[in-house]
Homo-oligomer: 201 residues x 4
């Protein structure tokens, strides 16, 4: 049972997750990513480079009957994913310790793939994704480097339809009685779906 | 029944709404707004300055058993809200044609208030909101002008806890074979909740 | 003689200044600030909250025959301003150790005032500025907090003409073979000039 | 003689230029571009895809003894460059009507090259630039599309040193008594200089 998040929308505050020193997709970027993934009931979802599992956990809470595979190569990350899944009652998240794309091969075919980290092997990962993804599938890549952005666009080329948004969030932080606007690094959220598939649903 | 959005996350693409010439909260800002509102099952929600109703419609789809009051002063806007509610099967949205804050007075007390437009009367509106909002309530104000930002912060002062994020979204637009990054205007999303209330849930 | 910057445009890289732990206006914001100040030959300029003196130094290099007063309350800052002025040959920069607005009172009347820091006393400072500034004067305030932004706009009101731009700069940083886009905090650059004065020059 | 801009810093307001329907680099981006170009006395500068000539005009005003070649393929653009050069007294700007890179070949070798538009032929242009640029030269590319950004980075590769900044400017626009923050499209400013050359000066 979910003890900690009783709301019906995503956007769990970052500080409620265990995160150690693992980078985490911040909450505003996370809700946009989940939105772009067009999650729906019963879907199978791969979360590649899952980090703390924050995306997988929120996806699971939003998707009744779904199956979620959180793929993460670091043992410390995997431990955090398990801890965060338990904390928020995301029982449908399965942790896969291993490196993508090899770790993806035995997984059930996905409806949705979210790629938060690629360990420098984005092209290889997307090749496996392209072979295994189910019809009407969607892929969402979060890029924080220009190389990941360019690599994703190169891969999708004209075979896939794509949308790119760059999201920047400045957050107010109290400094005495003032509010400093503190910038978060911009994230490119690249959504891709196969030509001929229906965008809206 | 909902025919047009079969997904379990918010983020209906802007172009799926009827919008005429009424300004609309763009989809990425909308999902962040819904997230900050911490919507939960059975809640009563006021959507003030509802415009096309896009926020009210998505809130309704995300909130089982909720009640939604979309307050809008223009007749054209009210027509759009009805059209969009019907299109997406958001039967729990009730349209209130009238000007805030007067139109708010007869409504049932809300758990959540989302203010997308205030017609220059933000202070008056927030006074009514402060009187009527239920315990553990939250208010989210979307500001596109510096005056609305300052007015909201002045009102909330130290009586409420607040969080301010400024969200900017650049979207790629095809120009021949190139992708121009086109900027959307930044939106300040101001969340407020009463001192002593639990933020996370 | 200027040994270190042989170019005729502003924009000295941040790392060429001595800066200790004092906050510094980053180079892209600095060139925009100097531009908005409409510096011209022979002008008298106050740089209030001068920090490392980076603004005063670049202003001096760009303004033949000008006089520059760098007002800074911290002794460490004053030392840095002297060091940076010497390094870049900005002999026309005079350091004033003291707190604004009191430290401003004995200074010669300015054509231009640049306010990079106000120590929480922006209103008091602007009152002195308004009394002392020469005809056709301009004021530029760099604000990183919402309170400084609101305070400046409140002060200028309708008596002054104002322009506000918010500048955000993301800078690529090498991470292995990738370029991470790293966000700098946004700065509001508020320019003000008296009603009836000619904007362009 | 320069009648219209009596200041010693760049940043002529956009509305003081004649511009017809030709796209123009906005003033804040322009001053950053000039800064990144490290203009210095006596330099020869190519302004490729000059548009209205705003960059060439401001560069000329900032660079005593310089020579400026404004390359523009449209006849209407060339007319505007001549008009703007005359208006601001930028007598050192020479207009070259023609398409880059062919139009670049007969020009004197440059110290600096600024590329504001490439007509889809960025790679060809940069090849000519690389052959002709003088020692200690610098190139600045302003990119508004992801393709120009990727193309520039691909070309410079490891042979050149590069810096990338992405600049976003929101500008306040009066709407009644309120200030709407209106976003300008983000511009990637890519600076490149040859390995082994001194960055700062």
């Amino acid at each position: 049972m979910n003890e900690m998040w009783k709301f019906s929308v995503p956007g769990i505050p970052d500080e409620l997750f265990s995160r150690g020193t693992v980078p985490m997709t911040r909450e505003e970027i996370r809700v946009i990513t989940l939105s772009k993934a067009r999650l729906g009931p019963g879907m199978t979802v791969w979360d590649v480079g899952s980090g703390t599992g924050s995306i997988a956990v929120e996806a699971a809470l939003m998707t009744p009957g779904g199956k979620f595979w959180a793929v993460e190569r670091s043992a410390g990350g995997c431990r955090l994913i398990r801890e965060n899944s338990a904390r928020f009652g995301a029982g449908s998240v399965q942790v896969v310790e291993g490196e993508a794309p090899e770790a993806l091969v035995p997984l059930p075919r996905p409806n949705r793939v979210i790629i938060g980290g690629s360990g420098g092997r984005l092209g290889d990962i997307l090749e496996v994704v392209e072979k295994r993804i189910l019809p009407a599938g969607r892929v969402v890549v979060n890029a924080v480097t220009l190389e990941t952005l360019a690599g994703a666009l190169d891969f999708f080329g004209d075979r896939w339809q794509t949308e790119v948004v760059q999201v920047s969030v400045n957050r107010s932080v109290k400094m005495g009685s003032s509010r400093l606007m503190k910038a978060g690094n911009p994230v490119y959220v690249i959504s891709a779906w196969e030509r001929g598939e229906d965008l809206g649903g």
